[in-house]
């Protein structure tokens, strides 16, 4: 059963027609066409699909797309200012916080939410805030360094 709806993603309204059980990650990737958000485990474990819903991190693989109607969704594409990377994105490049890159969108979204709540986190706070994001390359040290660098840059 198709449901006509409008999803608001990165400030843009996208009219979509969705099945009732379509998950948000599938709608973002397949219906809207923003492929920065990744589907990793598709089981609410790995965090590759992390997006912000009204500013709070949510696993989009485990959220019905139609639940997001009426909310502001932010994906990794929404973190940069046009062609200009955010401090956090630049810090990931500077510190080598990207290996295969598959977890990176989710890491950026979670870290972005952390830095908005806590502009000067400790390494432990960073690691706890990224606890729901798995990196199969295990490059956690450089990811944590990148978030530290971004925090210093914005304080």
């Amino acid at each position: 059963m198709k449901h006509a709806a409008t999803l608001t993603i990165n400030g843009m309204a996208y009219p979509v027609e969705l099945d009732g059980d379509t998950t948000l990650v599938r709608a973002i990737r397949d219906d809207v066409g923003l492929t920065g958000t990744k589907e990793g485990c598709d089981d609410c474990e790995c965090g590759a699909c992390m997006v912000l819903i009204d500013g709070r991190p949510v696993n989009s693989c485990t959220y019905f797309a139609l639940q997001a109607v009426g909310s502001e969704v932010t994906t990794v594409e929404g973190l940069a200012d046009g062609e200009t990377l955010s401090n956090l994105q630049s810090a990931f490049l500077d510190q080598g916080g990207v290996q295969c890159g598959f977890c990176t969108p989710g890491m950026l979204v979670s870290a972005h939410a952390l830095l908005r709540e806590n502009a000067n986190p400790t390494e432990e706070e960073i690691r706890l805030a990224l606890g729901g994001n798995l990196c199969r390359c295990t490059g956690y040290a450089k990811i944590a360094s990148a978030v530290m660098q971004a925090a210093k840059a914005s304080v």
Binding site: M1, H3, D19, G20, D21, T22, T23, D42, D43, C44, E45, G47, M50, I53, R56, P57, V58, N59, C61, T62, Y63, F64, L66, Q67, V69, G70, S110, A113, L114, T122, E123, E124, R127, L128, A129, G131, G132, N133
Partner: protein, 303 residues
């Protein structure tokens, strides 16, 4: 996937009307349990009723006992000053659920109605004496939390009922509570075993009342009478705590699964129950203990 009707209710009455007799419809709050279960072979009903926009179910009041609207998120509970001060075991548990993302979407109502024997908030709700309010077209009824769970994933709620609130009574003076779990990692973890304790002390520091519950150690979360008897009347000394551990291990009815085998779970039941009682007693004496009571071990960790 495909043939599912989706409705977003904005009032409880609207949700109840859509739910009907409950035979082919389910309510969803955060979605984190329902969608994962659907992916693991439990098919979705013909109609999904999203209740996350029902503003009347998202509230937390703590003036006279604690009342949590069913949509109160784990994040809200874990951060609430009154919950942390008075119903501390619940704050311990809510702070451990999943990850930041899970705590944002996961709700107390969804958590209790999902009825997992490994759920974090269940043990604290038992030892703190909680009840749930279930609403149907016929009206509201109150069910003690210990009467709600009938088995893994099953409850005594009737088809067509929706959980609208979880209530926890005011606690007596000199009472402290704690939830401790055994975990392999901090985030996106489920208790290997868990224990909750709520103890009340008299003016001489003697335990006058204790409730102890075991998590992931039976088909539902259970009380441990053996552990409770062992601590009441004592001042919480090491001998009494050893007896708590023995009582908890004896009362546990663990299974073996991929997370831990039966013998290990039984042995750890005692260890974790003892820790929960020790922290609860410390808090009852007015001593600070970090929330969550389960320490995190990682690089740069202070404890």
């Amino acid at each position: 996937m495909g043939n599912v009707a989706f409705h977003t209710a904005t009032t409880v009455d609207e949700a109840l009307a859509l739910l009907g007799d409950g035979s082919d419809a389910r309510v969803v709050a955060g979605g984190s349990d329902l969608i994962v279960q659907a992916r693991h072979g439990k098919s979705l009903p013909g109609t999904v009723i999203a209740i996350h926009r029902i503003a009347a179910l998202d509230h937390l009041e703590s003036a006279d006992g604690l009342t949590l609207g069913a949509l109160t998120s784990h994040a809200t509970i874990a951060a609430d000053a009154a919950v942390r001060a008075t119903w501390t075991a619940l704050a311990d548990a809510s702070a451990l659920v999943g990850s930041h993302a899970t705590r944002n979407v996961g709700t107390i109502g969804g958590n209790v109605m999902n009825a997992s024997p490994a759920m974090e908030t269940g043990g604290p709700l038992i030892v703190l004496g909680a009840s749930v309010t279930l609403r149907s077209a016929a009206g509201d009824r109150e069910v003690a939390i210990e009467e709600l769970w009938t088995g893994p994933g099953t409850t005594s709620a009737r088809p067509g009922e929706i959980c609208v609130a979880v209530s926890v009574p005011t606690q007596p003076a000199n009472t402290g509570s704690a939830y401790v779990r055994l975990e392999y990692r901090r985030a996106m973890e489920i208790a290997i075993v868990g224990a909750s304790a709520c103890v009340t002390l008299d003016d001489n520091g003697i335990v006058t009342d204790a409730k102890i519950a075991l998590t992931a150690l039976a088909p539902t979360i259970i009380r441990s009478p053996g552990a409770e008897v062992a601590i009441v009347g004592s001042d919480g000394n090491d001998d009494a705590l050893a007896a708590v551990a023995a009582g908890a291990s004896a009362d546990a009815k663990p299974i073996s699964d991929l997370r831990a085998n039966e013998d290990y779970r039984r042995a750890m039941a005692g260890v974790i129950a003892k820790r929960a009682v020790a922290v609860a007693a410390q808090r009852a004496r007015g001593e600070e203990f970090p929330i969550p009571a389960t320490p995190v071990f990682m690089k740069g960790s202070g404890r």
